[in-house]
Each structure stands twice: as structure tokens, then as C-alpha cells.
Symmetry: C2
Subunit: 204 residues, 2 copies
């Protein structure tokens, strides 16, 4: 697995030690999974003692939760910003897919953890993240509904179509690496075209 | 995670003890990941001693390889059977997506392991599985090329389009569970329609 974490992840997390622990955790979770990682592994990779880790995070699960919640919140804010404007549904959908795909390509290591380690979250933390996911899906679904209403989209099932739109973007995190032929931006544009076709739009 | 393994997995694997170990392994890999599983966990779940496990598989990685190779071979055979016939590209693609999606929904626990634990394979075993994956991608890509040639598909980039077709199906393994509103078969049909649209087909 190519491990490459953008330098600008979590600029808002303070102090530096906490951010360093999140970097170390995400790297190890992506490589050997949540259950294959110990808090000692994370502390060591961040150049700290296990005791110093507990100053910032109460457990390995608390680290996973911080990473997962942040990833979902960023995505929700982006989706809300794009889907919630009053532009034409086709334009909003194009922008949404471009940004969503670009995010999953550029941050593919983080996105893998965010998407594939969900089941490792304790029940209460899982519920918080599941609620964020539902809101993301709802925004996409209601954007599709807007397009169906104004005649720019036709889909057999709006819920399944929303699922497929998000699915295409999420799966980018699984296969994307720095060796991919397309930049995250170019891939986003290409996928936006595919999605608009999938939604039965003639604006392609 | 809903653990439900179809009873008819690996009918060709003999003896029963080896098949039982594969069931136990896939269940644990899907639940806590390859790195979160020990050979002792697998042996215990299969009602055997660790020593008895080694009679059938030389290592935990050998179990993962058996599961992964079998999943990829089944998929390749299906893709080859459907894509390699001389029907119209639209009909072949519809059938391919229906079967591919149905496989990933019905066997979602196995498919998760097959798709998401790839990086845990040792280099030689990884190479075998990667070669099977490339052949699957090539069949899909050349089916798209057939459709472009006879005018039934139009895509900006055949390689990216093939990736997107497979991506949609693979991601089903991530989100599908027995609680999903659609049966594997119904989901396959719905996704086939979405894919044909994505490929610019008018036959939808």
C-alpha cells in the first residue's frame, strides 16, 4: 500500500502531539487494520510513550473516532455547501461528484480508514458517525429528487441512485494510489460525467 | 456486521475440515481483519487445535490466499463466460453487471475479505491474485471496446469506464447486508440499468 498522507490533514487539531498521534494511527489502521494495531504501535510511531498517548486520547477507539468523525464532518460540510445552493441540479451534482471523488482520491489513505473501519467503532461512537452518513446520503438523495422534479434527471429508484453515486466515489479510496494515471481532479471530472449519465441527464 | 455465509461456499474444497477452516477464517477476517486474527482463533472457531490447522494450511496467509484466489477465480470464470460470448455488447454487459453485483451482495462477507484484505497477501500470492484481477478488468474493458466499436456505447475513457463498472459492484460488498431493501438479484438488475446509462447506451 502506498502510504502518503497530505500534510494539511487536521490543521484544526491542537496540540501538535494529538495531531501526530492521529497521523500515526491512520497510517497503522490503513496498513494493518484497527484490530491489528496496538496503542503502543501508535505511540511509538508518533515518538511518544503509551502513557503520553492517553493524555490526548482515552483509547485506540477514541483515536479511530476522532479520525472517522472528522472525515465524515468534512464530507458532510462539502456536500451541504454544494447540494444546498440553489443552482441547477445538474450543476450541483457535477460539482458534488467532482469534490467527493477528489477528496477520496487525494486522501485515499484516510478515506480507507474512514470507510472500512466503521464496524470497529464502539456503539455510541458508531451512532454519531452513522448519523453523519445518513445526512450525507439525504443531501445526495434530495439533490437527485430536485433533478427528477425539474426534469433533468430520471431514475428508477432515488435511494438506490444516491447509493450508487456515493458508492462510485467511496470505492475510489480502495483502488486509488499515486501510481494512478489520473490526478484526483481529472478523475473527479470524469466521474461527474459518468454520474450525470447514470442519472439520465442529457447535459453531458 | 451481519455475518451470514452462504452454505454452498467452496463445495469443491475437500476434506470438510479444510472447508470448515476457510469458513472460520473468512468470518474472523471480515470481523476483525487479517491482522486482528490469529491462527489459534481460526482453529478454535473451527473446533480444531492449531496443530490440526497446519495439516491443511501452512499459515494464516495460506488461508487468506485460498479464499482470495477462489473468489477471484469464480468471478473471472463468470466474467469470461458472459463477456466472451458473441451476443450484443449491451446484452452481455447487462448480464455481466447483474451477475457481478448479485455475487457481491449475496456473498458480501466473503467479498469484503476478498476485496479489502488484498494487501495482506505475501508478494507471490498477491501477484497471482493481481493477475486474475487484471484479466477480469481486461474482459470488462474489451466488452466496453466492443460496444464502442459497434456504436452501442460511447465513453470518454474505456479504462476508467471499466474501473467504474467494477467499482460499483465491488462497493456493494461494503454496504450490503441482509437488512438491505433489495434482494441481490433485484439490485443487480437495477445496477445493470445504471451501468448501461453510464456507458452511454440508449438501450435502457
Amino acid at each position: 500500500m502506498t502510504m502518503s498522507l497530505p500534510a494539511d490533514l487536521w490543521p484544526e487539531v491542537k496540540p501538535d502531539a494529538a495531531r501526530r498521534l492521529m497521523y500515526a494511527a491512520v497510517e497503522s489502521f490503513a496498513r494493518v487494520g484497527f484490530h491489528g494495531t496496538t496503542t503502543r504501535d501508535i505511540a511509538t510511531a508518533a515518538g511518544m510513550s503509551p502513557a503520553a498517548l492517553y493524555v490526548h486520547f482515552s483509547s485506540k477507539a477514541a483515536l479511530l473516532f476522532a479520525i472517522s468523525r472528522d472525515g465524515h464532518q468534512q464530507t458532510l460540510e462539502m456536500v451541504q455547501r454544494v447540494a444546498g445552493t440553489d443552482g441547477a441540479p445538474v450543476d450541483r451534482m457535477r460539482l458534488l461528484v467532482e469534490r467527493f471523488v477528489e477528496w477520496h482520491a487525494r486522501r485515499h489513505v484516510v478515506a480507507r480508514v474512514v470507510q472500512y473501519e466503521l464496524e470497529a467503532l464502539p456503539a455510541d461512537e458508531y451512532a454519531v458517525v452513522a448519523a453523519l452518513r445518513r445526512r450525507i446520503e439525504q443531501f445526495v438523495q434530495s439533490l437527485i429528487a430536485d433533478g427528477v422534479k425539474d426534469g433533468s434527471f430520471t431514475v428508477p429508484d432515488e435511494k438506490i441512485a444516491a447509493r450508487a453515486v456515493l458508492s462510485l466515489g467511496i470505492d475510489v479510496a480502495r483502488w486509488y494510489s499515486e501510481r494512478a494515471r489520473k490526478t484526483p481532479k481529472a478523475l473527479g471530472r470524469e466521474y461527474a460525467t459518468l454520474v450525470l449519465r447514470m442519472l439520465g441527464s442529457s447535459a453531458r
